[in-house]
């Protein structure tokens, strides 16, 4: 077993027994489900919208070269500097180079999972920069020195009491545990940072080929400020974020909001097409866009799972997943957790190290049903299992199935095995769940149904006779 797999199992065991954690997540997600369903219901046809979104993403991803070239030429035409990065390290290096050129000392960041993926904060801090996360949830997680718990709700596993203690300890400012007052503490602390940061860093939810823009979806206004005040703006996005046309956003913006947070539209949906243009009163002097591959082209080369690149990172599949809800976001130890994380992490970081995630699934299909762009998530989990087994067959498992096949194909042997089983099961009960139990992994937390006194075959034969 890979160390990642044993870590996962160990952590999952702790988390599933943590009833307090489970209750916090359940409460948060039950509220989410209520508003999300209300918003879905407001669509004249949520299902047609999903199909259209899936087809639009299909078109973009399956003609990615064409749309990327179009996006870049449109961006460059209005003075944006576009960079390409094959790896996460290259992306960090490009940003560090911008930092050096600008002699920057501080960076204000709005929420970006892609920057988590390339470990940007660590790289910037190592270079001696002050990096401040401005999204409230991300700010909280940065103070805790932990990665985000969820791709959309980074701090959903924390209570207001914990956040109050954190602010008291780290900022020396926490008048009460009211969410309102705590939010104002963060607002005050971060306002100063916007005004002084040298570089504003953002991610992007979409990029529009037709008009050469990136689109950022948010609620707090932190991305708006990040892209308004610092002299230099840098945006990092995966190459799969591109959409063909501006009008596609009329569909994707409300769908992202509905699936992501249960809103009809989030508070700010903003398209950026360049640095400050002539005649404009503010905005960055320089706008850099970094297009990141980082194994996305490998996923693209897998035609069977290519649609995993359609993902708009709404988090709906995490929210629907019974595994995620019980083991929690950090147990995955990946940038992207939940069903989509289990599907793509093996492509991003290696199949054999991360194949265990595809087994952490009940295959209920809740993720596939929740996905606004109709990614075939639970089938991809099965395909990962298949691919992992084909690539590196597990000797033990294969031998077991060979023995089973051998026995099951021989009626006489099978009859003996049944007798032995009926005889052996009471003995197994004596050691159930202990180290002596050969079926320990199963019986530790589950009951094995008792074998019936008589097999169906025996009963049938007697009945006939």
């Amino acid at each position: 077993m890979s160390t990642f797999a044993s870590q996962f199992l160990k952590q999952a065991r702790v988390m599933t027994a943590d009833l307090r954690h489970r209750k916090i997540i359940r409460t948060a997600l039950t509220n989410y489900e209520i508003v999300r369903d209300k918003r879905k219901g407001a669509f004249q046809s949520w299902e047609s919208a999903r199909q259209a979104a899936a087809e639009t993403k299909w078109e973009a991803v399956n003609h990615l070269d064409k749309y990327l070239v179009e996006l870049v030429s449109k961006l460059e035409a209005r003075g944006t500097k576009v960079h390409w990065a094959s790896t996460g390290a290259q992306a960090s290096e490009i940003i560090l180079q911008i930092v050096r050129d600008k002699q920057a000392r501080s960076v204000i960041k709005s929420k970006s999972m892609t920057s988590e993926e390339v470990h940007l904060n660590a790289a910037l801090e190592k270079a001696g920069l002050e990096v401040v996360e401005s999204d409230l949830g991300e700010f909280i997680m940065q103070l805790r020195d932990e990665p985000p718990y969820h791709i959309v709700f980074p701090s959903m596993h924390l209570t207001r009491g914990e956040i109050k203690d954190l602010f008291q300890r780290e900022l020396g400012d926490a008048p009460s545990d009211s969410p309102e007052e705590l939010t104002m503490v963060a607002r005050r602390a971060l306002r100063k940072k916007y005004l002084t940061a040298d570089i504003g860093f953002t991610g992007a939810n979409f990029a529009i080929a037709e008009t050469g823009m990136i689109s950022i979806t948010e609620n707090e206004g932190n991305a708006r400020l990040t892209s308004a005040l610092p002299k230099t703006m840098v945006s990092l996005l995966g190459i799969e974020k591109v959409l063909p046309r501006l009008e596609d956003l009329a569909l994707f913006l409300p769908m992202l909001a509905t699936a992501g947070t249960g809103q009809a539209l989030t508070c700010y949906n903003t398209m950026y097409g360049g640095p400050r243009q002539p005649g404009e009163s503010d905005g960055p002097e320089e706008f850099h866009v970094i297009l990141l591959d980082n194994h996305r082209t490998e996923l693209l080369a897998d035609a069977e799972q290519r649609d995993a690149l359609h993902c708009i990172r709404c988090g709906a599949c995490l929210n629907a997943c019974p595994i995620f809800r019980n083991v929690g976001g950090h147990t995955y130890a990946t940038t992207y957790s939940g069903p989509i994380g289990s599907v793509i992490t093996p492509h991003l970081r290696g199949l054999q190290d991360w194949k265990h995630l595809s087994n952490a699934s009940s295959l209920c299909g809740g993720c596939t049903e929740a996905c606004p762009v109709k990614i075939d998530l639970h089938h991809h989990l099965l395909q990962n299992r298949r691919n992992a087994a084909t690539e590196e067959p597990a000797f033990f498992e294969r031998s077991l199935y060979q023995i089973f096949g051998f026995v099951a194909n021989r009626p006489a042997l099978w009859a003996v095995a049944k007798k032995l089983g009926r005889f052996g099961q009471p003995l197994q009960n004596l050691v159930k769940g202990t180290a002596l139990d050969p079926a320990k992994a199963w019986t530790q937390t589950r009951d094995l149904p008792p074998m019936p006194k008589e097999s169906f075959k025996d009963w049938w034969q007697k009945r006939k006779g």
Binding site: R187, S281, L300
Partner: protein, 235 residues
């Protein structure tokens, strides 16, 4: 900066990998095994209007929807009878909110509405001092459109005094004409295309209610980083 050649080559490497990967076609969504769709000029999203939340056809219905949606989002909508009434409404807002200083941009409506307020004004055209704008009690802007379907205000860096004005002061006041109301998001994007293409403003933003967060126990708090209050003053 990296020299030109490395930049180019990374671009070419990535594009080459993309082209190589795409040699094997992927199935169309919902139709396993069928041939790939051709790249088309027609967007499946072009029919969005028939699936998105419904909007009535008449102006009265659309206005009512805009008002109720905005109210649900905790934005304030003030409908006034005439252009002149805007002045009085703004003056009342200023005295109720005890405004000491406002920020605004050059514009037919903003100039008219703020002319007699008698308050110091931080103007954005040609650049402004950020600290000064931060200290203002309200940012007063025009807009490109109001969207009935979502209760949104559409602003751009050209129509609303840049990027900062609509998010930096704690109260954002939008002055709009009734005729600026459009039915839905597809109509709003069509308007952006018609009004600006190909010289789009560097920022185009849909503002849907005042700034908010739910990051602490998913409880709604207004004024996370942007304005706590959003008022749409419409005549």
């Amino acid at each position: 900066m990296k020299n030109e050649e490395t930049v180019l080559s990374e671009r070419e490497k990535i594009l080459a990998r993309v082209r190589e990967a795409l040699k094997i076609p992927a199935h169309v969504p919902g139709a396993h095994g069928t041939a790939p769709l051709p790249a088309s000029a027609h967007s499946p999203a072009a029919d969005a209007r028939s699936w998105l939340p419904k909007v009535g056809d008449s102006f009265a219905e659309q206005l009512a929807l805009f008002q109720s949606t905005a109210a649900e989002l905790k934005a304030e909508v003030q409908m006034v009878a005439s252009r002149d009434a805007v002045k009085a409404a703004l003056a009342k807002m200023a005295s109720d909110g005890n405004w000491k200083r406002i920020a605004t941009h050059k514009g037919e409506l903003t100039d008219f509405a703020t002319a007699d307020l008698g308050l110091p004004i931080c103007r954005t055209e040609g650049g402004y001092d950020v600290q000064e704008m931060e200290a203002c009690d309200a940012g007063i802007t025009e807009c490109d459109a109001l969207v009935a379907q979502t209760g949104s205000v559409l602003v751009t860096s050209l129509s609303a005094g840049g990027r900062g004005l609509s998010v930096l002061p704690p109260h954002h006041v939008v002055i709009a004409r009734r005729e600026q109301l459009v039915a839905d998001l597809p109509a709003a994007f069509a308007l952006v295309q018609k009004k600006y293409a190909p010289h789009f403003p560097s920022m185009i933003s849909f503002i849907t209610g005042p700034s908010r967060t739910g990051d602490i126990e998913r409880i709604l708090v207004l004024g996370a980083h942007g304005p706590k209050k959003l008022t749409i003053l419409c005549f």
